[in-house]
Amino acid sequence: MSSSLEKNMLILRSSDGEEFIVPEVVAVMSKAIKNMVEDECASNTIPVPNVDANILAMVIEFCKKHDESEAEAASDLKTFDSEFVNRGQEALYDLITAANFRDVKELLDALCQNVAEMIKGKSVHHIRIQFLGYQLFEILTSNFIWNIWCDRDFD
């Protein structure tokens, strides 16, 4: 531990080189980081490859809230979660990948639950609009034959 760093704090470095000072209790909500800390193979700076500063900041925000709010009412945390995961596709994709890669179970579940809600009880038409945004909506409304889309890969 460097002398300037308080005890029980860790530095996380994002893929684009930005550093975040985070309490150890928060950082170890990531099982991957927990394992590194437990195996004592973590120096004072832990690199978090594949996760950029923007996404890492979001993950840390989520973990901090969940660490602090043990005493808080469960309903408050639920509200926070549902607001936190309410993001565009781009961010959802990056967050899910990061939560999976760093093994942050609570975050992964909250995100996947959110995507599941986007699917729940919706028609195929609506799910496609949700996943593809406007582009597909325009195509679908310009009289494309549905069945063609049913068997086509979006890739």
Binding site: G88, Q89, E90, L92, Y93, I96, T97, N100, L108, D109, C112, Q113, V115, A116, I119, K120, G121, V124, I127, R128, F131, L132, G133, Y134, Q135, W149, C150, D151, R152, D153, F154, D155
Partner: protein, 448 residues
Amino acid sequence: MDSDIGKSEDRISKLPDALLCHILSFLSTKNAVGTSILSTRWHNLWTSVPNLDFDDNEFFCEYARLSEERKIEVDSSFQYFMNRVLLLSDAPCFHKFHIKVRNPGHLDLVDTWISAAIERNVQELELRDDVETNVKLPHTIFTSKTLVVLTLWEAFLDVPGSVWLPSLKSLNLHSVKYENEDSLLKLLSGCPVLENLYMVRWILDTLQVLNISVPTLKHLTVIWYRDYFQDEDLEDLDDQGCKLVVDAPQLEHIYLSDYCTDEFLFRNLQSLSKASLFVGSSDLSFIDDGLRIYRLLSGIPNVKFLDAHFSFQTDVDDYMLPTFRNLTELKLGGGGDDSWNLKLLSDFLQCSPNLETLILEGNVLDTSDKSWNPPQEVPSCLLLHLKKIRIQKFSGKNYELRVIGYLLKNAKVLKKMTIDSQNLDDCCCGELAELPRGSKTCQLNLLL
């Protein structure tokens, strides 16, 4: 989403299979299977999802209003769907298998479906049976090696001679009907690692003795209310009253909300640290209240946290309390429409030498006039340990004021007394603030 206009691409579909399956596992099976027509990317994903969740009502919610012919059609389409999913699913083992049945049409298939889930090494099984004729469980359910959580709603429990559930940790029984007095006993004896037992007893449950003897049990919840509007059904009851026997040397937490049982017999509860008891006398009571309190409390002398809500006749005399050496937090409140049991409070203070936190919950509706007879000597917990007192639902009654006065005066190491008097119109703040305090460092917080 608006910012994505024009440049959006389907990122979600690009996630790896395992993550998409994880997303699908949060959906009911009907919704998960529905994604197979989104695109070829999604076509077969649902077959790997290890969580299956079926609800026949999800298929047709206005079932009751259908014609008989249409009902048969809807039933068979649900059955066709179930059969297909069970055949096509290729998850190596099922994590969860939840099935909710409300239409009597497929009663005789339910056990086949459950058997199929057992065959696939299911870990968490939930059967919710809202049909009047109860579903019979397949016998294979009682010898599953993989089952960890079993939840049954309103099923009929006919337990075969041999039960062996070596992985079962949690058993939740909601209004289950038992074939006979021994059914539950047989089931429990085949659960060598059971830790959690949650039981809501059926309102017409006629089980005379509920015997819960499980050496590995850590958490126990028993909830039992009777519906006295259905009195005629209760006439068959034997005249002896019902008994609850708990023998669980590793039990840590018990939650009991039981207004029907007459006799509580607790054995070997030396590990019990937390007890929440909501107990009162039933109209069919056969034992007097003093003896019930004695039986109930003498079985749990090691608790650290006790939350006791008794709606017995107040000021019963003929009981004795054990000494609660470990008790540090006590919450006392009336159950139902009763208020502070002052005699019990006085006895608890004398029998809990290490009490640190006391929470008293009043009752605004109570209009009775009671008198507070303090213990003859000041109990040692007041002199040495009691640091926090919280009075909830304070309504300014005379006896409440006298109890508060006594506690403030005699609790020598009290740090904080909080009085929640939100139900009080005419606040007696001044009166409370002027009460003499035995502890110089005591803070008095009034929540108005």
